[in-house]
């Protein structure tokens, strides 16, 4: 058998797509299924180069529907499997994701967001947030980690596999075109060296023994006959989701205690927010910073605590308020005014946020 792909800590200067490929290797993912789309292509490029050396597999499918459904198939056998996509590919991925939600199939999907709607740009956006959290004909029983840079991509890709398998929930690592294509430093490590134990995978189908003789056969279905049955199923899914959601909710905050304005951003935008807040603090502005790491479940309670009694919440997105909708959902009842700073499909710089906050504090 192949040795561990990463034995000891390795510091490298690479693209985010390369980071994801290495993280999936380190997480002991056995197979990737995928269809090309910019800006996630290089995940496949690296994976296909590395996979044979580490006894891993790859299947290039005919489209993203197939990429999603083959991933479901692979996972059902108890194999740690993943796919990656973006933009219109993420739109198509909603169909397999709804099956995974219903049948609790722990697929991992890396989404490198690009501009929308439609084909739009191949570059960057945060416009796939609603879709990743609540896409399809259901109620969004998924976990979504929004990453802000290479270390996140490494850490949360590994974590995504564990969350998925521990809770039997489809899990999305939400990146974007910037993170996919940019180069910055990252420390890659063997998860075991950080005390991370990879969750054991279990076969949904194909367990040992003759079905009907040694054990019951397993039947996995997604269709129900009556409303009443479905209500029970969806309520079960909800109860299951609620049972672990507090446990996995993640966020980051800084300078919130005495702040008058809280700047909220997720993903790569949170870096601009953090930098802006740091710079504003140097100039004496009382500004705080809050970053949801899990977008689903959303750290609403924590955000509510952070913004209580503040003058304003500045919500920053490279989208038209997709995250803001989660904020108002969870913060409804509060009266702290919310200001939106939305640049759909376009990056946000710390400089413009500094200006924005200054104009608000005048």
């Amino acid at each position: 058998m192949a040795t561990k792909p990463i034995e000891k800590d390795t510091n490298v200067f690479v693209t985010g797509n390369e980071v994801v490929a290495w993280a999936a290797l380190a997480a002991d993912a056995k197979i990737m299924y995928g269809y090309p789309i910019t800006p996630q292509n290089e995940i496949m490029h690296y994976w296909t180069r590395l996979a044979p050396k580490h006894d891993r597999n790859f299947l290039q499918t005919e489209d993203e529907l197939s990429a999603g459904f083959t991933t479901c198939g692979g996972v059902l056998t108890g194999t740690r499997a993943f796919t990656a996509t973006a933009g219109p590919g993420t739109v198509l991925m909603q169909e397999p994701l709804t099956m995974a939600e219903m049948m609790r199939i722990p697929i991992v999907v890396v989404v490198q967001q690009r501009g929308g709607p439609s084909t739009a740009t191949v570059i960057y956006s945060q416009q796939e947030v609603t879709m990743c959290c609540y896409g399809g004909n259901g109620e969004g029983f998924r976990v979504v980690y929004s990453t802000s840079g290479h270390q996140d991509l490494y850490d949360y890709t590994i974590k995504a596999f564990n969350t998925a398998w521990k809770y039997s929930v489809p899990t999305i690592v939400l990146g974007d075109g910037y993170q996919a294509k940019m180069r910055e430093a990252v420390t890659m490590y063997d998860p075991a060296s950080r005390g991370i134990v990879m969750e054991e995978t279990k076969p949904y189908v194909g367990a040992p023994g003759k079905p009907g003789v040694d054990r019951d056969p397993s039947f996995f279905k997604n269709t129900y006959n009556t409303e009443e049955e479905l209500l029970d199923v969806v309520n079960d899914l909800k109860d299951h989701y609620d049972s672990f959601k507090d446990e996995i909710t993640e966020y980051e905050e800084a300078f919130t205690d005495d702040a008058e304005i809280i700047v909220v951003g997720h993903g790569v935008v949170s870096r601009a927010c953090k930098e802006a807040v740091k710079n504003l603090r140097k100039d004496g502005y009382k500004v705080g910073y809050f970053r949801p790491i899990t977008l689903r479940p959303f750290p609403g309670k924590q955000l509510a605590a952070a913004v209580a009694g503040k003058q304003n919440i500045l919500v920053v997105e490279s989208a038209l308020g997709q995250m803001k909708r989660f904020i108002t959902e969870d913060l409804y009842g509060l009266t702290v005014p919310i200001t939106g700073y939305f640049k759909p499909g376009k990056g946000v710089s710390s400089d413009e946020l500094v200006d924005k906050v200054k104009s608000m504090m005048k």
Binding site: T38, V122, I123, Y178, K181, E184, R271, N279, E352
Partner: protein, 188 residues
């Protein structure tokens, strides 16, 4: 604030701005700096303006792209237009002498930037050295205008990257080094 430097290189597809940025950013990462490099990319593989965004700092780096560049290098007519919105009073602005009269009207005025430098990199490459080292001259110019990394580190990087070629043809090494130094001297 911090020692953050924001650098933007823009040119035509063939002019090699991405490899300049890749070598420079990797080299300064190796010297222990915080570095971020992001290429501009689009639907067209060929035919668009190629832009590289680099940031170097001793502190953690924020957004991959930025609004105001500390150093801009524009190498073609279209590049001059493309970088316009990144110019600010602190910008050091470098452009190749080869651009058209039309394009010159889009250059920032001397009092709009910290410094504006015309360099005949194109001409030097074509007449004195070789088209292929055009981007090495540019690399030199960037080095000359920032303290991001020492020239030796870059030489080492080139040494590493072109090991085989330099071995096969040592004159190539010399030409690259000359180009690098030429580039530095152009902006001094």
């Amino acid at each position: 604030m911090s020692d953050l430097k924001r650098i933007m290189l823009a040119g035509e597809g063939g002019q090699g701005v991405q490899s300049v940025a890749a070598i420079l950013s990797e080299a300064s990462y190796k010297t222990g700096k915080q570095v971020m490099y992001i290429p501009n990319f689009g639907v067209e593989q060929r035919g668009g303006v190629s832009v590289a965004f680099m940031q170097i700092s001793s502190e953690a780096i924020g957004s991959p792209k930025f609004d105001n560049a500390d150093l801009i290098v524009a190498l073609s007519d279209r590049a001059v237009s493309r970088v316009k919105m990144y110019v600010n009073p602190n910008t050091i602005y470098v452009y190749d002498a080869n651009i058209s009269e039309e394009a010159r009207t889009h250059l920032p005025k001397a009092d709009e930037v910290a410094k504006i430098v015309e360099i005949p990199a194109h001409e030097i490459a074509n007449t004195e050295l070789h088209v292929r080292v055009f981007n090495v001259i540019i690399m030199g110019a960037v080095l000359g205008l920032t303290d991001m990394v020492s020239i030796d580190v870059i030489k080492e990087a080139l040494e590493h990257k072109f090991a085989k070629k330099f071995e096969a043809n040592p004159a190539l090494r010399d030409m690259n080094y000359t180009a690098l130094e030429k580039g530095m001297s152009l902006v001094r």
